[in-house]
Symmetry: C2
Subunit: 251 residues, 2 copies
DNA sequence: GATTGTGAAGAATTTCACAGCT
DNA sequence: AGCTGTGAAATTCTTCACAATC
């Protein structure tokens, strides 16, 4: 749980489970692809396959948004795109600042999917005076000294931190003090923020470590006398068109 | 559920919940920081605060690994570092290949935390012939044509995909065919892989969309007559030093 | 006949709260 | 006295299975 303002039935049924929220972008992407191919309708089964989940979960997820499908037919692609976009708040434009324009910050600035869906890179900020003025992805880098002014001038509420770990908390504090209430953190640190501020983190080395855990487990199982040994034998019951992604759970 | 070989009590109690596995790297990072400051022992309360979780959860997590603490005292930092490292499989060296050396791939190649903890960038691979031979982060980029050979020669089992979305599935297929069984995907696509292969994904735009959802909700609440209105009011019961970070992972 | 929407069952995860050890 | 380890309760998430609807 991340949102501040705690414990209260959230007014009236504004109760979309967090797990569902986290999947909406996945559905939206799949739907956008269908939309571009001018597919008019899609069944829960097809859409679920495209998004990499199972269809019961998808239907349950959609049920929290409302009844947007037609029984016997499926979902209208355009309509669903709109409804999910609206639910996610993507019908408005979110100015975003990226702080820390090193390799990663530059990569993020250049990332196309950024602008495509409701987000706009309002400014790039770096502590290195030599960077100031240099354009990255067509946007001139500004100096950290002006951080507060930039936030205010652009009415930014979402900040991306791509600085080294050591600078992250300090940058975070300044962003929050200047009015940012959502932070996407790429620095490998736990940020502490006041209540009411959301933080999400993206951490390469954590993801790799989780993979290493599973990889090690595979190696171990292989060694222990297993009938079929070696990885990659394609059997296993059930599991339909889900296919990927951990979840593991031995027993 | 993803890992092949299903349904079996996993020999003997090798049953660490996935949610716990996902937090072990967090604990490890906090412990490593303590270790560097030569702190000998730490309580569940302190460590939990440093890792950004609550202490009951941390103790429960550790209970799956064994009884590594001392009642009335806490945990021995060095010992725990070792135990968690071992559990995660970080006492061995994992050669990793990065495919797609654009902005992001280069950022990943330069990422320090990579080498630091059990991972070694064995090779960089890109489809652009002009990139071939050019060093990135001190490692010469190799051409996609040699992908299979590179995987074999370096005994790689973990691959990182940082290509454009359109190329990701194809690269994935080749990696898997060549023997890779764990994939970290930065391309905004759902990859399909055979059973027994783990995929984790890191997706900037999904994270941003989740933030936008919460941001929108805040704005809405603000508008609807709320007592304290406006974000950032620091009250709220309970919640201790937890505060932030959703934990991501729908994967 | 096909497919949605959803109660109810089941599984996983988190939190509580305290017994048990040092 | 302090802090871990853990059953049990509470909560959240997933899956099942089928009635309702087109």
């Amino acid at each position: 749980m991340a949102t501040g303002r705690t414990h209260r039935p959230a007014t009236r049924s504004r109760g979309i489970p967090e797990a569902t929220v986290a999947r909406l972008p996945l559905y939206l992407r799949a739907l956008t692809a269908l939309s571009e191919r001018s597919v008019p309708t899609v069944s829960s089964e097809e859409l679920a396959a495209a998004a990499g989940v199972n269809s019961a979960k998808l239907r349950k997820d959609f049920s929290y948004l409302g009844s947007y499908g037609t029984r016997g037919v499926g979902y209208d692609v355009e309509y669903l795109v709109y409804q999910i976009s609206r639910e996610l708040g993507l019908t408005q434009d979110w100015p975003v600042v990226i702080v820390g324009i090193g390799n990663l910050g530059a990569a993020l600035a250049n990332y196309g999917g950024f602008a495509s869906r409701g987000f706009r890179v309002a400014a790039l900020i770096d502590a290195d005076p030599n960077m100031a003025g240099k354009p990255v992805a067509g946007i001139p880098v500004q100096h950290t000294d002006d951080l507060e002014r930039i936030i205010h001038d652009n009415d930014v509420s979402i900040g991306v931190i791509a600085t080294p770990a050591g600078a992250a908390q300090q940058v975070c504090d300044r962003l929050v003090a200047a009015g940012v209430t959502s932070i996407l953190n790429f620095a490998p640190t736990v940020l502490s923020v006041p209540d009411g501020v959301d933080v999400r983190k993206v951490d390469l080395s954590i993801e790799l470590q989780i993979l290493a855990f599973h990889e090690q487990r595979k190696a171990g199982e292989e060694a222990a006398g297993e009938p079929g040994a070696v990885a990659g034998n394609p059997e296993d019951p059930g599991q339909g068109p889900d296919g990927d992604v951990p979840a593991v759970m031995p027993a």
